[in-house]
């Protein structure tokens, strides 16, 4: 990364986030190993802020930074922002931040910048950080990445049911359409490929303006987004996606006034659990921590 970020000033301790933790889910980072979630329940943090978007639904950078920091503190059970990010990456890591460039609902630049800033502050050199989507296979940082951070907005999708965190790794294969059979049922297998397996340190499902229904070839209409103003953050992509899908389904019920299941069903998320054992999609096994704005939470 070319930008130099000022050294992080130690922020005020984020009371609410840390108090909500109860001291669980602490883990070490021996070598380059991946953080291991609690063996019994997978923690997912939902954080929302009423002011994160301006009138044109553009994210406000300072609030985005505050939200992601607070979520990571809560997720890791840390007592400070610095400590929290030190549990995500280490100074010697090479970090690939997998974003999503879909033109109508991309990963917000404000979020990318917020995460890059914290990764830099941990001590990762700028030249060892890359933010990429479509060309990850040709990106030398991604090819040598020891740590991946996965970030994308949630949206409905014509063929996979939803554009999910799990699906966001489809660019790690040379021919994405190979994974389209049976409505993308086995996307989780991508996560087990040698250049991907075991490298993901953090998953962020962007819920600022999720798309809950689509029309036309681009599967987009401004009518079907809403300002939810949230982030879903977790170590387990299956659990985070599972929570995201429940929110989308609740929104569809609310908007259409009747049950309107996602079509086709996002089976890749549930098969990621039951068939591929990538994580858990079972709400009973997910410890959902809700922080911040509660109005219209839907879950």
């Amino acid at each position: 990364m070319k930008k130099q970020h000022p050294r992080m000033k130690r922020r005020a301790f984020l009371k609410q986030g840390s108090l909500a933790l109860g001291g669980t889910l602490l883990f070490g980072l021996p070598g380059n190993s991946i953080p291991t979630p609690h063996p019994k329940k997978t923690r997912v943090v939902l954080i929302r802020h009423p002011e994160v978007l301006d009138k044109l639904n553009r994210p406000r950078a300072e609030i985005v930074q505050e939200m992601i920091d607070r979520a990571v503190v809560a997720l890791t059970g840390s007592t400070s922002i610095q400590q929290a990010w030190q549990q995500i990456v280490r100074p010697e890591d090479t970090v690939g931040i997998k974003s999503n460039v879909w033109r109508f609902l991309p990963t917000p630049a404000e979020l990318e910048e917020a995460v890059v800033k914290r990764v830099r502050e941990v001590g990762v050199a700028a030249e060892k950080i890359s933010v990429n989507d479509r060309t990850v296979l040709r990106d030398p940082i991604f090819r040598n990445a020891t740590a991946l951070i996965n970030m994308r907005p949630l949206r409905t999708h014509y063929w996979a049911g939803v554009g999910s965190l799990i699906k966001n790794y489809i660019m790690f294969v040379p021919n994405p359409s190979d994974y389209h059979p049976d409505t993308c049922a086995d996307l989780a297998t991508i996560w087990k490929l040698p250049h991907v397996r075991g490298r993901t340190r953090l998953n962020v499902l962007v819920m600022f303006t999720p798309l809950f229904h689509g029309q036309g070839p681009h599967h987009f209409s401004p009518q079907y987004i809403w300002p939810y103003r949230g982030l879903l953050v977790g170590f387990d992509p299956v659990a985070v996606d599972s929570v995201g899908v429940r929110i989308l389904q609740a929104k569809r019920r609310e908007y259409f006034g009747e049950e309107r299941p996602l079509n086709p069903p996002p089976k890749h998320i549930f098969l990621a659990d039951t068939r591929h054992h990538l994580g858990t999609a079972d709400p009973a096994k997910i410890d959902l921590i809700k922080l911040g704005w509660e109005e219209g939470c839907l879950i």
């Binding site: 044109l56 029309q215 987009f220 401004p222 086709p264």
Partner: protein, 304 residues
């Protein structure tokens, strides 16, 4: 009628690029799509123009390509119009190969009924879709501005007029009884993945849906809770019988072949075959309405 000689036939085939099997070649399709493009759009200029076939549609809309492929997509042209201080305007014209394909892909995501453009259209701020003959058209500019909306409507009208013919609604759709029908709920398809449109029915292709079948979902408002009607038209009665037997074994718990059964939740489901038409009714609140619906559909069944 004057007979066309073999030589004449060959010359005609060469001229019109008709393959021995009667299919129209891609060159002809490309010319057809070009004929639909407006000459100009005052105030806007074309920034990009691309063409896609089933082999590379993924490059444009990735997973969305599968939806169009499932409806028989043949070719598309995509244009991006640009005007300073305005959102880019995306025009996509899909040649779906058949009227059924164009109608089906249109019904796939519509939420309301509108006949402003073509043979059916849906407009939401910044986004217009419509279909006519074998073509499906999408126009999108986000966020919408008054200038962009005007441009969308101008382009849509020009393209609509450039398509000379009306397409014929698929036979199975015309079998739907009209009373209490929720028009915008009609979903026409033949790929099994769209069988679970309104609720989860089955993951397997128990109904043997493929490109030789025609299927349609529709909702009826006999009561506050909708009744769901599924019609599948098979190429033969024997094909319909095979599908009926397999589906009945899987879905219905009755060991006999009664057409109507009450579920544990108190609603009514039904399955009945009328010649080469299979009729499924789900989640009905009223058994008399189910009976009437079955009888009306079967009265209208097409010839064997």
């Amino acid at each position: 009628m004057q007979k066309i000689s073999l030589l004449g036939g060959i010359i005609l085939a060469l001229f019109y690029n008709i393959s021995p099997g009667g299919a129209i070649s891609m060159n002809t399709l490309a010319r057809d799509l070009s004929a639909l493009l407006p000459d100009s759009l005052p105030g806007w200029e074309i920034k990009e123009e691309h063409r896609y076939t089933p082999d590379n549609l993924y490059d444009y809309i990735d997973g969305g390509a599968e939806l169009y492929r499932s409806y028989g997509f043949r070719e598309m042209v995509s244009l991006v119009y640009h005007r300073p201080d305005q959102p880019d305007l995306y025009l996509d014209i899909f040649d779906m190969g058949t009227t059924g394909g164009a109608f089906g892909v249109f019904t796939h995501s519509r939420e309301k009924t509108d006949s402003t453009f073509g043979q059916g259209s849906q407009y939401s701020p910044g986004a217009l879709i419509f279909w006519k003959d074998r073509y499906f058209i999408s126009l999108l500019a986000s966020p919408e501005t008054p200038e962009a909306r005007q441009a969308i409507f101008t382009l849509a009208r020009q393209i609509e007029h450039a398509i000379p013919r009306q397409g014929k609604i698929p036979t199975v759709v015309r079998l739907l009884p009209r009373d209490s029908l929720v028009e915008e709920s009609i979903r026409y398809f033949y790929h099994p993945v769209w069988l679970n449109t309104y609720f989860f029915l089955t993951e397997s292709n128990l109904l043997h849906l493929d490109s030789t079948t025609q299927a349609v979902w529709a909702k009826y408002r006999f009561t506050a809770q909708p009744t769901y009607l599924l019609l599948v038209l098979y190429p033969s009665a024997s094909a319909a019988r095979t599908a009926e037997q397999e589906f009945r074994k899987f879905y219905f718990t009755l060991s006999d072949s009664r057409p109507i059964t009450q579920t544990q939740k108190g609603s009514w489901d039904a399955l009945r075959r009328c010649g080469r038409l299979l009729v499924g009714i789900f989640r009905a609140r009223n058994s008399a309405a189910v009976q009437n619906l079955l009888e009306e559909v079967c009265r209208k069944q097409p010839s064997p």
